[in-house]
């Protein structure tokens, strides 16, 4: 029996995009994955094992380690050919770990979000101090750290606090809308794409709770670093 993730992938109907990856299906039922920007290129390095996604996702184009896999710095120049849905699922989970499961939970109405203040208040040890960050500091930090343009491609679903305060008033409203492709929103900041342009469907990368990197940044703000 296919589980919720497989059902999501089956219904995604290639070609579709997942973060910076474009996924196509061949007539033989295989899947071809490339970097979205690489579409027109021909001389891509070919990989055929889903496990290769671990290493492709590990370093950016300059060879730096990528601590945040949803940052918009996936390296270029590769083409990953996969035999079936099982391999596709495995590879996508190495590229964007956990994001398919969170998307499936969201689609099924099972995803719980946690406000940033909830995450901060839970911290212990060296991160406990991070909770002292002010609302104004959060507003600026999130706008800078989480922005799709150079920060992170996830769609923010969490609120600032239990009162429902927005994560940052300085981010465009598209940043909070799972129906919008974060990369296209960057390309056309003012208007949504015209309905006539054929656009590959997108599985959004969802952020249901602030990541550890953001908590570490909150701590730095409090400590004045």
């Amino acid at each position: 029996m296919p589980d919720s993730i497989e059902r999501c992938l089956e219904s995604a109907a290639p070609p579709f995009c997942f973060g910076q990856i474009l996924i196509r299906k061949t007539n033989a039922g295989h899947f071809i994955l490339i970097h979205r920007d690489d579409e027109p290129q021909k001389n891509l390095e070919i990989f055929q094992n889903p496990d290769d996604a671990i290493e492709i996702a590990k370093y950016d184009d300059a060879g730096n380690y990528r601590p945040l896999k949803t940052a918009p710095n996936l390296r270029h120049g590769w083409r990953l050919e996969l035999a079936d849905l099982e391999e596709l699922r495995r590879a996508l989970d190495y590229f964007y770990p956990g994001r398919l499961a969170v998307f499936a939970a969201w689609k099924g109405g099972e995803l719980k979000t946690t406000p940033l203040r909830g995450t901060l208040d839970r911290q212990s040890g060296m991160y406990r101090v991070a909770a002292k960050i002010s609302d104004a500091q959060i507003n600026d930090l999130v706008a800078n750290f989480c922005r799709s343009n150079g920060g992170c491609l996830r769609t923010i679903l969490w609120k600032r606090d239990r009162g429902g305060g927005i994560a940052s008033t300085k981010l465009p409203k598209e940043k909070f809308d799972p129906g919008i492709d974060q990369i296209q929103a960057l390309e056309r900041p003012e208007s949504p794409p015209p309905a006539t342009t054929p656009v590959a469907a997108t599985i959004p990368l969802l952020c249901q709770e602030a990541c550890n990197l953001l908590i570490a940044e909150c701590r730095k703000v409090v400590k004045g670093k």
Binding site: D3, K69, T70, G98, E209
Partner: protein
Amino acid sequence: MSFNKESALLIVAHGSTVNPDSSAPTLAHAAKIRRRKIFAEVGCAFWKEEPSLRDAIFLFDPKSICEVCVVPNFISEGYFTQTVVPRELDLNGRITKRPNGQIWKYCEPVGSDPRMTDLLLQRAREIAPGVPEAETSLLIVAHGTDLNENSAVAAKREAEKIRALGKYAEVLNVYMEEPPLVSDWRKLTMSRNVVVVPFFISDGLHSYEDIPRLLGITVAAGVDRGRPGSPPPATALGEIFRRNPYKIGDRLLFYAPSIGTDPGFADIIIEQALAAKS
């Protein structure tokens, strides 16, 4: 081993925002266990990498997975296994029943398993094949002064167990940051042959650069980071481990990769999970 079609295995580990090799052994163990098809699903989650421990709550579809066994890939009980992991995963004790019906079982950390001793012995033999144990000193390296961690205690326990077997001329614990210091190994040991095994979960700066420097290994520590298409990093050993033995003065030094990169860890993870199930 029978197939648990409604059970999932979740391996939790520390991970790192700076060390690309930190999660590699955990991912490699998970891939190995997945191939053995003992659990319906095998996932990983990390404190400092993705998927996060918080993401892990949503990794397994409650319609197909009834039970999740959580195995901490840590060298010892401590702050992470006792405070961080249960808090982030919303666990309340050894067994947690979720509102969606899933049962989550929290297992012992891998490093606490009694089979760890055999693994250390095996690794020590592999790194110095044909070298008589009775003429060899075995050093087990731990960090020491870790925040609230008991890794030094665990390393001490392992050294005592191996010493009691009477195979090696001597078995010593050494630490990076507290005495007895790794850097004093020449004073601390008497045998001509010295085998050094880092008691860490993964390779990284400590095992690639810091410990070699403290040991006096001068060879350039070329780090084999693994590129796309190369073998999984847990088996693609760094250059530093391929130059054994190192001749330092009148001694022969054999330097092993961190114990956590041993494929035998996968078996221990399975055992920990199955022990929690029964």
